[in-house]
Symmetry: C2
Subunit: 204 residues, 2 copies
Protein backbone atom coordinates (compact mmCIF):
# COMPACT_ATOMS: atom_id res chain seq x y z
CA UNK A 1 0.00 0.00 0.00
CA UNK A 2 1.10 3.50 -0.76
CA UNK A 3 1.44 5.84 2.20
CA UNK A 4 0.91 9.57 2.02
CA UNK A 5 4.17 11.47 1.96
CA UNK A 6 6.08 8.88 -0.09
CA UNK A 7 7.14 9.85 -3.60
CA UNK A 8 5.69 6.77 -5.20
CA UNK A 9 3.04 5.74 -7.68
CA UNK A 10 1.21 2.43 -7.73
CA UNK A 11 0.77 1.21 -11.29
CA UNK A 12 -2.02 -1.35 -11.69
CA UNK A 13 -1.67 -3.07 -15.04
CA UNK A 14 -2.75 -6.08 -17.06
CA UNK A 15 -0.68 -7.17 -20.06
CA UNK A 16 -3.82 -7.69 -22.13
CA UNK A 17 -4.81 -4.03 -21.83
CA UNK A 18 -3.87 -1.85 -24.79
CA UNK A 19 -3.93 1.41 -22.83
CA UNK A 20 -1.71 -0.24 -20.21
CA UNK A 21 0.75 -0.78 -23.08
CA UNK A 22 1.12 2.99 -23.50
CA UNK A 23 1.77 3.49 -19.78
CA UNK A 24 4.17 0.56 -19.44
CA UNK A 25 6.29 2.04 -22.22
CA UNK A 26 6.22 5.56 -20.74
CA UNK A 27 6.13 5.34 -16.95
CA UNK A 28 9.72 4.55 -15.97
CA UNK A 29 11.34 7.53 -17.69
CA UNK A 30 8.60 9.95 -16.62
CA UNK A 31 8.74 8.76 -13.01
CA UNK A 32 12.55 8.87 -12.87
CA UNK A 33 12.52 12.46 -14.15
CA UNK A 34 10.37 13.36 -11.14
CA UNK A 35 12.25 11.17 -8.64
CA UNK A 36 9.11 9.09 -8.13
CA UNK A 37 9.30 5.34 -7.43
CA UNK A 38 7.06 3.03 -9.45
CA UNK A 39 5.31 0.27 -7.48
CA UNK A 40 4.29 -2.33 -10.06
CA UNK A 41 0.89 -3.85 -9.27
CA UNK A 42 0.08 -6.62 -11.77
CA UNK A 43 -3.51 -7.90 -11.67
CA UNK A 44 -6.08 -9.65 -13.83
CA UNK A 45 -8.68 -7.35 -15.32
CA UNK A 46 -10.95 -10.22 -16.44
CA UNK A 47 -12.31 -11.06 -12.96
CA UNK A 48 -12.92 -7.36 -12.32
CA UNK A 49 -14.96 -7.10 -15.52
CA UNK A 50 -16.75 -10.33 -14.57
CA UNK A 51 -17.71 -8.75 -11.22
CA UNK A 52 -19.56 -6.09 -13.27
CA UNK A 53 -21.38 -8.84 -15.13
CA UNK A 54 -19.26 -8.43 -18.29
CA UNK A 55 -18.11 -11.49 -20.19
CA UNK A 56 -15.29 -9.64 -21.97
CA UNK A 57 -13.53 -6.30 -22.44
CA UNK A 58 -15.90 -3.39 -23.17
CA UNK A 59 -13.83 -2.86 -26.33
CA UNK A 60 -15.12 -6.24 -27.52
CA UNK A 61 -18.63 -6.07 -26.06
CA UNK A 62 -19.28 -2.56 -27.35
CA UNK A 63 -18.72 -2.61 -31.10
CA UNK A 64 -18.61 1.15 -31.71
CA UNK A 65 -16.18 1.81 -28.87
CA UNK A 66 -14.03 -1.13 -29.96
CA UNK A 67 -13.70 0.21 -33.51
CA UNK A 68 -12.81 3.62 -32.13
CA UNK A 69 -10.14 2.29 -29.78
CA UNK A 70 -8.04 0.83 -32.61
CA UNK A 71 -8.18 4.17 -34.43
CA UNK A 72 -7.20 5.93 -31.21
CA UNK A 73 -4.29 3.54 -30.57
CA UNK A 74 -2.75 4.27 -34.00
CA UNK A 75 -2.78 7.99 -33.21
CA UNK A 76 -1.62 7.59 -29.60
CA UNK A 77 1.33 5.40 -30.58
CA UNK A 78 2.31 7.88 -33.29
CA UNK A 79 2.12 10.67 -30.72
CA UNK A 80 4.32 8.83 -28.21
CA UNK A 81 6.69 7.40 -30.82
CA UNK A 82 5.75 3.79 -30.00
CA UNK A 83 5.46 0.87 -32.42
CA UNK A 84 1.99 -0.51 -32.96
CA UNK A 85 0.29 -3.45 -34.61
CA UNK A 86 -3.30 -4.29 -33.77
CA UNK A 87 -3.23 -7.74 -32.13
CA UNK A 88 -5.01 -10.49 -34.04
CA UNK A 89 -6.29 -11.70 -30.67
CA UNK A 90 -7.77 -9.31 -28.14
CA UNK A 91 -7.70 -9.23 -25.25
CA UNK A 92 -4.85 -11.67 -24.79
CA UNK A 93 -4.63 -13.56 -21.52
CA UNK A 94 -1.39 -12.63 -19.76
CA UNK A 95 -1.51 -14.74 -16.61
CA UNK A 96 2.02 -16.07 -17.05
CA UNK A 97 3.85 -12.73 -17.40
CA UNK A 98 1.74 -11.28 -14.56
CA UNK A 99 2.95 -14.14 -12.36
CA UNK A 100 6.53 -13.55 -13.48
CA UNK A 101 6.13 -9.92 -12.41
CA UNK A 102 5.18 -11.17 -8.94
CA UNK A 103 7.94 -13.79 -8.86
CA UNK A 104 10.44 -11.04 -9.66
CA UNK A 105 8.81 -8.27 -7.62
CA UNK A 106 11.30 -5.55 -6.74
CA UNK A 107 13.98 -6.84 -9.12
CA UNK A 108 15.69 -4.26 -11.35
CA UNK A 109 14.70 -6.05 -14.59
CA UNK A 110 10.93 -5.82 -13.94
CA UNK A 111 10.27 -2.63 -15.91
CA UNK A 112 12.15 -3.82 -18.99
CA UNK A 113 10.46 -7.21 -18.73
CA UNK A 114 7.06 -5.48 -18.73
CA UNK A 115 7.99 -3.42 -21.79
CA UNK A 116 9.09 -6.50 -23.73
CA UNK A 117 5.91 -8.39 -22.87
CA UNK A 118 3.86 -5.42 -24.05
CA UNK A 119 5.84 -5.18 -27.29
CA UNK A 120 5.28 -8.91 -27.81
CA UNK A 121 1.52 -8.32 -27.58
CA UNK A 122 1.06 -4.97 -29.31
CA UNK A 123 3.96 -4.85 -31.75
CA UNK A 124 4.97 -8.43 -32.55
CA UNK A 125 1.45 -9.86 -32.18
CA UNK A 126 2.79 -12.81 -30.18
CA UNK A 127 1.33 -15.07 -27.52
CA UNK A 128 2.16 -13.45 -24.17
CA UNK A 129 0.96 -16.50 -22.25
CA UNK A 130 3.38 -18.94 -23.93
CA UNK A 131 6.24 -20.15 -21.67
CA UNK A 132 8.61 -20.27 -24.68
CA UNK A 133 8.00 -16.60 -25.50
CA UNK A 134 8.19 -15.40 -21.90
CA UNK A 135 11.23 -17.59 -21.25
CA UNK A 136 12.98 -16.04 -24.27
CA UNK A 137 12.37 -12.55 -22.87
CA UNK A 138 13.79 -13.55 -19.48
CA UNK A 139 16.86 -15.09 -21.10
CA UNK A 140 17.40 -11.96 -23.19
CA UNK A 141 17.38 -10.00 -19.94
CA UNK A 142 20.05 -12.29 -18.48
CA UNK A 143 17.68 -13.92 -16.02
CA UNK A 144 17.35 -17.66 -15.16
CA UNK A 145 14.30 -18.38 -17.30
CA UNK A 146 13.61 -21.96 -16.22
CA UNK A 147 13.80 -21.10 -12.53
CA UNK A 148 11.58 -18.05 -12.89
CA UNK A 149 9.00 -19.91 -14.98
CA UNK A 150 8.92 -22.65 -12.34
CA UNK A 151 8.51 -20.08 -9.61
CA UNK A 152 5.74 -18.37 -11.62
CA UNK A 153 3.89 -21.70 -11.77
CA UNK A 154 4.18 -22.30 -8.02
CA UNK A 155 1.20 -22.15 -5.70
CA UNK A 156 2.42 -19.14 -3.67
CA UNK A 157 2.79 -17.05 -6.83
CA UNK A 158 -0.56 -18.24 -8.23
CA UNK A 159 -2.12 -17.25 -4.91
CA UNK A 160 -0.30 -13.91 -4.97
CA UNK A 161 -1.88 -13.01 -8.33
CA UNK A 162 -5.32 -13.95 -7.02
CA UNK A 163 -4.64 -11.72 -3.99
CA UNK A 164 -3.55 -8.84 -6.25
CA UNK A 165 -6.76 -9.07 -8.24
CA UNK A 166 -8.83 -9.16 -5.06
CA UNK A 167 -6.88 -6.14 -3.72
CA UNK A 168 -7.67 -4.29 -6.95
CA UNK A 169 -11.36 -5.03 -6.50
CA UNK A 170 -11.33 -3.90 -2.85
CA UNK A 171 -9.62 -0.67 -3.86
CA UNK A 172 -12.31 -0.12 -6.49
CA UNK A 173 -10.02 -0.46 -9.49
CA UNK A 174 -12.39 -0.78 -12.47
CA UNK A 175 -10.01 -0.65 -15.43
CA UNK A 176 -6.38 -0.55 -16.49
CA UNK A 177 -4.08 1.21 -16.35
CA UNK A 178 -4.96 2.64 -12.95
CA UNK A 179 -2.60 4.75 -10.85
CA UNK A 180 -2.95 5.16 -7.11
CA UNK A 181 -1.11 7.96 -5.37
CA UNK A 182 -1.63 8.37 -1.63
CA UNK A 183 -5.17 7.01 -1.87
CA UNK A 184 -6.17 9.04 -4.94
CA UNK A 185 -7.12 7.13 -8.07
CA UNK A 186 -6.20 8.09 -11.63
CA UNK A 187 -7.65 6.00 -14.43
CA UNK A 188 -6.16 5.64 -17.88
CA UNK A 189 -2.92 6.46 -19.64
CA UNK A 190 -4.24 10.00 -20.17
CA UNK A 191 -3.89 10.61 -16.42
CA UNK A 192 -0.34 9.28 -16.00
CA UNK A 193 1.27 12.72 -15.94
CA UNK A 194 -1.31 14.09 -13.47
CA UNK A 195 -0.75 11.13 -11.16
CA UNK A 196 3.02 11.58 -11.34
CA UNK A 197 2.72 15.30 -10.56
CA UNK A 198 0.77 14.44 -7.40
CA UNK A 199 3.35 11.83 -6.41
CA UNK A 200 6.19 14.28 -7.07
CA UNK A 201 4.51 16.86 -4.78
CA UNK A 202 4.95 14.54 -1.76
CA UNK A 203 7.93 15.01 0.52
CA UNK A 204 10.96 12.93 -0.46
CA UNK B 1 -21.06 17.09 -42.55
CA UNK B 2 -17.45 18.02 -42.33
CA UNK B 3 -15.47 17.90 -45.55
CA UNK B 4 -11.79 17.10 -45.74
CA UNK B 5 -9.70 20.18 -46.27
CA UNK B 6 -11.91 22.50 -44.22
CA UNK B 7 -10.47 23.89 -41.01
CA UNK B 8 -13.40 22.83 -38.91
CA UNK B 9 -14.26 20.55 -36.02
CA UNK B 10 -17.62 18.95 -35.36
CA UNK B 11 -18.42 19.02 -31.66
CA UNK B 12 -21.06 16.46 -30.64
CA UNK B 13 -22.33 17.30 -27.17
CA UNK B 14 -25.12 16.66 -24.69
CA UNK B 15 -25.72 19.14 -21.87
CA UNK B 16 -26.16 16.30 -19.37
CA UNK B 17 -22.61 15.05 -19.99
CA UNK B 18 -20.01 16.18 -17.44
CA UNK B 19 -17.03 15.67 -19.74
CA UNK B 20 -18.90 17.69 -22.40
CA UNK B 21 -18.95 20.49 -19.81
CA UNK B 22 -15.15 20.67 -19.88
CA UNK B 23 -15.07 20.84 -23.68
CA UNK B 24 -17.90 23.38 -23.97
CA UNK B 25 -15.97 25.71 -21.67
CA UNK B 26 -12.68 25.23 -23.52
CA UNK B 27 -13.36 24.73 -27.22
CA UNK B 28 -14.09 28.21 -28.53
CA UNK B 29 -10.84 29.83 -27.37
CA UNK B 30 -8.71 26.84 -28.38
CA UNK B 31 -10.32 26.63 -31.82
CA UNK B 32 -10.04 30.38 -32.43
CA UNK B 33 -6.33 30.28 -31.58
CA UNK B 34 -5.91 27.72 -34.40
CA UNK B 35 -8.30 29.44 -36.83
CA UNK B 36 -10.58 26.41 -36.69
CA UNK B 37 -14.36 26.77 -36.99
CA UNK B 38 -16.53 24.91 -34.46
CA UNK B 39 -19.59 23.13 -35.86
CA UNK B 40 -21.90 22.58 -32.88
CA UNK B 41 -23.67 19.23 -33.08
CA UNK B 42 -26.15 18.89 -30.20
CA UNK B 43 -27.63 15.42 -29.71
CA UNK B 44 -29.23 13.23 -27.06
CA UNK B 45 -26.90 10.68 -25.53
CA UNK B 46 -29.72 8.75 -23.82
CA UNK B 47 -31.05 7.05 -26.97
CA UNK B 48 -27.50 6.13 -27.97
CA UNK B 49 -26.96 4.47 -24.59
CA UNK B 50 -30.36 2.80 -24.93
CA UNK B 51 -29.26 1.36 -28.29
CA UNK B 52 -26.46 -0.43 -26.36
CA UNK B 53 -29.06 -1.82 -23.97
CA UNK B 54 -28.15 0.61 -21.17
CA UNK B 55 -30.88 2.17 -19.08
CA UNK B 56 -28.70 5.06 -17.89
CA UNK B 57 -25.23 6.64 -18.02
CA UNK B 58 -22.38 4.18 -17.36
CA UNK B 59 -21.36 6.56 -14.56
CA UNK B 60 -24.63 5.64 -12.84
CA UNK B 61 -24.82 1.98 -13.88
CA UNK B 62 -21.21 1.27 -12.92
CA UNK B 63 -20.76 2.27 -9.30
CA UNK B 64 -16.96 2.19 -9.13
CA UNK B 65 -16.54 4.22 -12.32
CA UNK B 66 -19.19 6.66 -11.16
CA UNK B 67 -17.41 7.34 -7.86
CA UNK B 68 -14.15 7.83 -9.74
CA UNK B 69 -15.64 10.28 -12.21
CA UNK B 70 -16.61 12.79 -9.52
CA UNK B 71 -13.09 12.63 -8.09
CA UNK B 72 -11.69 13.12 -11.59
CA UNK B 73 -13.99 16.08 -12.30
CA UNK B 74 -12.77 17.96 -9.20
CA UNK B 75 -9.18 17.60 -10.42
CA UNK B 76 -9.98 18.35 -14.07
CA UNK B 77 -11.88 21.53 -13.20
CA UNK B 78 -9.02 22.66 -10.95
CA UNK B 79 -6.58 21.99 -13.79
CA UNK B 80 -8.61 24.00 -16.30
CA UNK B 81 -9.61 26.75 -13.85
CA UNK B 82 -13.30 25.95 -14.14
CA UNK B 83 -15.91 26.13 -11.38
CA UNK B 84 -17.39 22.82 -10.26
CA UNK B 85 -20.18 21.53 -8.07
CA UNK B 86 -21.31 17.93 -8.36
CA UNK B 87 -24.92 18.05 -9.57
CA UNK B 88 -27.50 16.68 -7.15
CA UNK B 89 -29.20 15.12 -10.17
CA UNK B 90 -27.22 13.19 -12.78
CA UNK B 91 -27.48 12.92 -15.67
CA UNK B 92 -29.83 15.86 -16.16
CA UNK B 93 -32.08 15.83 -19.18
CA UNK B 94 -31.22 18.77 -21.43
CA UNK B 95 -33.69 18.41 -24.27
CA UNK B 96 -34.79 22.05 -24.13
CA UNK B 97 -31.35 23.68 -24.40
CA UNK B 98 -30.35 21.17 -27.11
CA UNK B 99 -33.40 22.29 -29.09
CA UNK B 100 -32.49 25.95 -28.49
CA UNK B 101 -29.04 25.20 -29.93
CA UNK B 102 -30.76 23.93 -33.08
CA UNK B 103 -33.22 26.84 -33.21
CA UNK B 104 -30.28 29.23 -33.03
CA UNK B 105 -27.86 27.19 -35.16
CA UNK B 106 -25.15 29.39 -36.65
CA UNK B 107 -26.00 32.40 -34.49
CA UNK B 108 -23.08 34.17 -32.80
CA UNK B 109 -24.50 33.67 -29.29
CA UNK B 110 -24.55 29.85 -29.47
CA UNK B 111 -21.17 29.22 -27.84
CA UNK B 112 -21.87 31.51 -24.89
CA UNK B 113 -25.36 30.03 -24.53
CA UNK B 114 -23.82 26.56 -24.32
CA UNK B 115 -21.34 27.68 -21.67
CA UNK B 116 -24.10 29.21 -19.53
CA UNK B 117 -26.25 26.08 -19.75
CA UNK B 118 -23.26 23.98 -18.70
CA UNK B 119 -22.52 26.30 -15.78
CA UNK B 120 -26.19 26.05 -14.76
CA UNK B 121 -25.82 22.26 -14.59
CA UNK B 122 -22.31 21.78 -13.22
CA UNK B 123 -21.73 24.92 -11.18
CA UNK B 124 -25.14 26.26 -10.11
CA UNK B 125 -26.77 22.81 -9.87
CA UNK B 126 -29.88 24.13 -11.66
CA UNK B 127 -32.54 22.52 -13.84
CA UNK B 128 -31.30 22.85 -17.44
CA UNK B 129 -34.62 21.64 -18.82
CA UNK B 130 -36.71 24.40 -17.18
CA UNK B 131 -38.04 27.05 -19.61
CA UNK B 132 -37.66 29.75 -16.92
CA UNK B 133 -33.96 29.00 -16.47
CA UNK B 134 -33.20 28.71 -20.19
CA UNK B 135 -35.30 31.79 -20.93
CA UNK B 136 -33.28 33.77 -18.37
CA UNK B 137 -30.04 32.76 -20.07
CA UNK B 138 -31.38 33.85 -23.47
CA UNK B 139 -32.57 37.18 -22.06
CA UNK B 140 -29.18 37.76 -20.43
CA UNK B 141 -27.61 37.22 -23.87
CA UNK B 142 -29.94 39.87 -25.36
CA UNK B 143 -31.98 37.34 -27.30
CA UNK B 144 -35.79 37.16 -27.69
CA UNK B 145 -36.40 34.43 -25.12
CA UNK B 146 -40.12 33.85 -25.68
CA UNK B 147 -39.74 33.56 -29.46
CA UNK B 148 -36.77 31.20 -29.18
CA UNK B 149 -38.50 29.00 -26.59
CA UNK B 150 -41.55 28.80 -28.84
CA UNK B 151 -39.35 27.89 -31.79
CA UNK B 152 -37.53 25.28 -29.68
CA UNK B 153 -40.91 23.68 -28.90
CA UNK B 154 -41.97 23.58 -32.57
CA UNK B 155 -42.26 20.35 -34.50
CA UNK B 156 -39.47 21.10 -37.00
CA UNK B 157 -36.97 21.71 -34.19
CA UNK B 158 -38.14 18.64 -32.27
CA UNK B 159 -37.67 16.64 -35.44
CA UNK B 160 -34.25 18.22 -36.00
CA UNK B 161 -33.03 16.99 -32.60
CA UNK B 162 -34.28 13.49 -33.36
CA UNK B 163 -32.43 13.66 -36.68
CA UNK B 164 -29.24 14.82 -34.94
CA UNK B 165 -29.38 11.88 -32.55
CA UNK B 166 -29.96 9.47 -35.42
CA UNK B 167 -27.04 11.04 -37.32
CA UNK B 168 -24.85 10.52 -34.25
CA UNK B 169 -25.82 6.86 -34.17
CA UNK B 170 -25.15 6.38 -37.89
CA UNK B 171 -21.74 7.99 -37.48
CA UNK B 172 -21.01 5.58 -34.61
CA UNK B 173 -20.85 8.22 -31.90
CA UNK B 174 -20.93 6.23 -28.64
CA UNK B 175 -20.31 8.94 -26.04
CA UNK B 176 -19.89 12.65 -25.45
CA UNK B 177 -18.04 14.80 -26.07
CA UNK B 178 -17.10 13.43 -29.49
CA UNK B 179 -15.14 15.39 -32.08
CA UNK B 180 -15.22 14.58 -35.78
CA UNK B 181 -12.56 16.02 -38.05
CA UNK B 182 -12.63 15.04 -41.72
CA UNK B 183 -14.13 11.66 -40.88
CA UNK B 184 -11.78 10.89 -37.96
CA UNK B 185 -13.35 10.43 -34.55
CA UNK B 186 -11.90 11.69 -31.27
CA UNK B 187 -13.72 10.72 -28.09
CA UNK B 188 -13.57 12.61 -24.82
CA UNK B 189 -12.38 15.98 -23.59
CA UNK B 190 -8.86 14.52 -23.31
CA UNK B 191 -8.70 14.38 -27.11
CA UNK B 192 -9.91 17.94 -27.81
CA UNK B 193 -6.41 19.30 -28.47
CA UNK B 194 -5.49 16.37 -30.74
CA UNK B 195 -8.69 16.87 -32.74
CA UNK B 196 -8.01 20.59 -33.09
CA UNK B 197 -4.46 19.94 -34.26
CA UNK B 198 -5.77 17.71 -37.02
CA UNK B 199 -8.35 20.32 -38.02
CA UNK B 200 -5.70 23.05 -38.02
CA UNK B 201 -3.51 20.97 -40.33
CA UNK B 202 -6.14 21.17 -43.09
CA UNK B 203 -5.80 23.82 -45.78
CA UNK B 204 -7.56 27.08 -44.89
Amino acid sequence: MSTRGAREIEFWLDFGSNYSYLSVMRIEALAAARAVRVVWQPFLLGPIFASFGWSNSPFVLQKEKGEYVWQDMVRQCRKYGLPWRQPTQFPRLGVLPLRVMLAGAGAPWIAEFARRVMLLNFHLDGDINAPAEIGAILTALGQPAAALLAQAASDPVKQALRAQTEAARVRKVFGAPTFLVGGEMFWGNDRLEDALELAAAASP
